[in-house]
């Protein structure tokens, strides 16, 4: 029970340390709005909006910031009649 939990619990400080190091590396690099991922996300969305009507709820943008590699995944549901934008 409690005693078992106490002894099996692993230290949490190393996790805090690692999370902070990754986060701050990104925040320091992105001061002054020069965040590459954010720019990419905004421009990609703008290009897509030019060619089709984008329903905000049907778009999912996910960013995963890692220590050395970050990924940006844009997932858009394209409706059948969405190919043409109403002129």
């Amino acid at each position: 029970m409690n005693l078992k939990r106490f002894f099996s619990r692993s230290a949490s400080a190393p996790a805090a340390r690692e999370r902070l190091q990754v986060l701050l590396a990104h925040e320091r690099a992105s001061s002054g709005d020069s965040d590459l991922l954010k720019t990419l996300r905004d421009e990609i969305m703008a290009v897509i909006a030019k060619h089709m009507q984008v329903d905000g709820d049907k778009v999912s943008v996910k960013m995963e910031r890692g220590a050395s590699v970050s990924t940006l995944a844009v997932d858009i549901e394209v409706p059948f009649d969405g190919g043409k934008k109403a002129a």
Binding site: F7, A11, P14, A16, R17, L20, Q21, L24, S31
Partner: protein
Amino acid sequence: MGKVIVVTSGKGGVGKTTSSAALGAALAQNGDKVVVVDFDVGLRNLDLVMGAERRVVYDLVNVIQGEAKLAQALIRDKRLETLYLLPASQTRDKDNLTPEGVEKVITALRKAFDWVICDSPAGIERGATLAMRHADVAIVVTNPEVSSVRDSDRIIGLLDSKTMKAEQGERMEKHLLLTRFDPARAERGDMLKVEDVLEILSIPLLGIIPESMDVLRASNVGAPVTIADNKSAPALAYFNAARRLKGETVPLTTPGEKRGFFGKIFGRKAA
């Protein structure tokens, strides 16, 4: 000419006001002339922590708006005659703090005191940026906890870009004051270690203040901890930090709190 110090952190509740009062009182006990200035307009608390809440007549905003002379607004400490407080306004809006007004007040204080300690409000808005604006030295108060470390990193960025020193191309002197540190929890691996925080923020360490009941007890009675109980662990840590501020070399010791029999058994995780 005195030195202007800003005590800042970004995050609230980490111990800026406690540290401003404790360091101010520690420096004043050496006979230095010290003024502690509360920049938290609307949410002042330095007066309460220093036990002067019933003696506030005029405040920083009154001085800036020309409704009172600086000398009228300064409150002398009843216990230390070289320690003064300049309270913040409780009722006015923080927009009443103007950059020109703050500059005038700081310039005047710098001439009259050895140390001008600016107690910054939390956040990164007007009050916080004006508190750091004219500083020669910054003390970044940080708790060994993720959100506090992140906010400190942000504040360090502002210190290096939005202050007079930074704008004149000079380097802002920054020191880390690690507060509410619990050596037993750090040793157990449940709290960031001193070295972790130092490595992440990479600014020199001014002191480590242990988590202690004495700090709360001091604020309860309205005295800086360096006056209320000058033999307590946090008071000794603040005295050492004050000596380092003056340029003395004082060896850093991680405050080890005495642990009883029970603490010895359960305070440490079995290896």
